[in-house]
Symmetry: C2
């Protein structure tokens, strides 16, 4: 396989983009000029960007490059979906140190291309450069929606039902498991990582998916949420964003928060309350949304949606009813202290 | 001044975005949700991204942070203008190590905000994260144009006049000067850098401008170039892009290539042929474009535009006529060897 230095910058770009086939009619011109050209004359544009940094957002000791490429795309697509828009294009910029060869870059891009394929997204541009140290991935995702379809985090209404998709806290427990096994491996490389029986939480950490399926379900059933956000930093933080931006309060119920059995099992092994993983764990990329009470019947049919509470007046606070019927304020700073053992 | 750790991520974002006022009607929603929302129903979208890496693209030993922020925006805006589009929005993602305090980040953003103001661009989103080492700036720029206004690099036509804006090679000589004085300073900190008399080449390196003025002149005079590209990697490389993408050849004339007196003086001091700076220097962010012969009279009036040659058939090659009437092939690899003394 050719080395990076032989290819040069233009050769590398050509190599990485040679198999790209444009699939969206909104993409007029992809890679190959000063800029990409898109057509969103029928829709508003939704655009977002995330930067992933080695040693901060991921550790290549236990994250395969292909998974990393996939996840880097998905976390951006999740932000487009969290506006109730359809993801259509991404732009990928990468800074990579010379410890990586062409094979490593190809692995990374194979994950990027797979995510593009799975979500029907065109890779339309970017930048590939060297870094002195570490791998940096900056992705911009672009999508579209009719003006009336776009859902903000600032428009939740009193009495709305609060819903979440899938289950919460699994990605965080997957990370804890990977970090623990990595520490054991570093201390004694003879000991092989023991990851058996935890496929679900590992997959949630290493290869998360954006909930395009649920957004499509809502749209197909004529349910437009009043507010919508994706859960990247934990349920608690995202509910607070909706309440603060919408000038409302909330009441959610601990017993309604969906947590997978594997998450619970691993949390208990670590001596962490599984609820803390769900509230503060992050990286779940599930959706949090609020809908009119009238939509309840239509929601019920989808087992990927859990109703966990309702929106209240702002002066009623942001509360969670615990299993023992005590009330916990979600905005209380002290809650974060439970996070670390 | 508050420290970064006190502010936290959300506090920092709030601090950096608190004074933003949206100025373009195409910006429906800027920072503050999962994604920005834009309206380009009347235009096609042009979108591009560049990643600047400390130690690769800039050296903070001699690049002030405010200038860096300004330049990072301008190089992206230049790519939008190089499609003959109007820049309207940027998204800024930054990874920064903990050796930088809030004051440094504010300096960087003051340059970013100044560039936004000067070019009439809205800052609509981004990401701020930490890095283990070094500063990384990833910017996505978005602009718009009517479909018929957009100009690609692949549509140059035989007999077109080849034009460049401003002058070439100055940014490269500014960099050489800064690097030389930095080396002298590192060897003996008692010796102060001697940068006097070289304001122009320093400004070209540290605070380049995108040639929006020339694009506006062309549009106001009903001149639509047949092909257009910005000169980020040196004239030679960009002409080759136009010729390769348009399946044409070119003939340019050494004596027509615009080079500033300060560039020539500094190049001679370094023992470099000034022509090499213009052909291979990079970072000038001038425009290279081709127009119909009929537009010549209208171009003449603008002293920021130089006609340097014309487009030929592809089989006539990519040639420069030297001062002594000899012919040099611009695609010849050997030329690059002149670059370093």
């Amino acid at each position: 396989m050719a080395e990076l230095s032989e290819l040069g910058e233009f050769g590398l770009i050509k190599h990485l983009t040679k198999d790209i086939k444009i699939i969206n009619e909104q993409t007029i011109k992809g890679v190959g000029d000063d800029a990409a050209v898109l057509d969103y004359s029928d829709e508003k544009i939704v655009i977002t960007s995330d930067l992933l940094v080695e040693g901060v957002h991921f550790d290549l000791a236990y994250v395969p490059l292909k998974h990393l490429g996939y996840k880097a795309v998905v976390v951006n697509i999740s932000d487009v979906i969290a506006m109730n828009a359809k993801p259509r294009q991404i732009i990928v910029s990468i800074a990579i140190s010379n410890r990586f060869g062409l094979e490593a870059i190809d692995e990374l891009y194979s994950g990027i291309h797979l995510a593009c394929k799975n979500y029907g997204v065109d890779l339309v541009g970017g930048d590939t450069t060297s870094s002195k140290q570490g791998l940096f991935i900056s992705i911009t995702a672009i999508g579209g929606a009719k003006q009336e379809e776009i859902v903000y985090r600032s428009t939740a209404k009193e009495n709305d039902l609060i819903c979440v998709t899938g289950d919460l806290g699994a990605a965080y427990m997957g990370l804890q498991l990977l970090e623990r096994e990595n520490e054991i491996f570093k201390a004694d490389p003879q000991i092989q990582p023991d990851l058996s029986g935890y496929n679900y939480i590992l997959q949630r950490q290493l290869k998360p998916e954006a909930r395009y399926d649920v957004c499509n379900y809502l749209n197909n059933n004529n349910i437009t949420p009043n507010s919508l956000i994706d859960i990247s930093d934990g349920l608690s933080s995202e509910i607070m964003h909706i309440c603060n931006n919408s000038n409302v309060g909330c009441q959610i119920y601990e017993d309604k928060i969906p947590i997978n059995d594997e998450t619970i099992k691993m949390a208990e092994e670590f001596g962490i309350n599984p609820l803390v993983c769900a509230l503060n764990g992050g990286e779940d990329y599930e959706l949090l949304f609020t809908v009119d009470l009238n939509d309840y019947e239509k929601l019920k049919a989808n087992n990927q949606i859990s109703v966990i509470g309702h929106i209240t007046k702002q002066n009623q606070g942001t509360n969670m009813i615990r299993l023992d019927n005590s009330i916990m304020d979600l905005s209380a700073e002290g809650w974060n202290a439970f996070m670390k053992k």
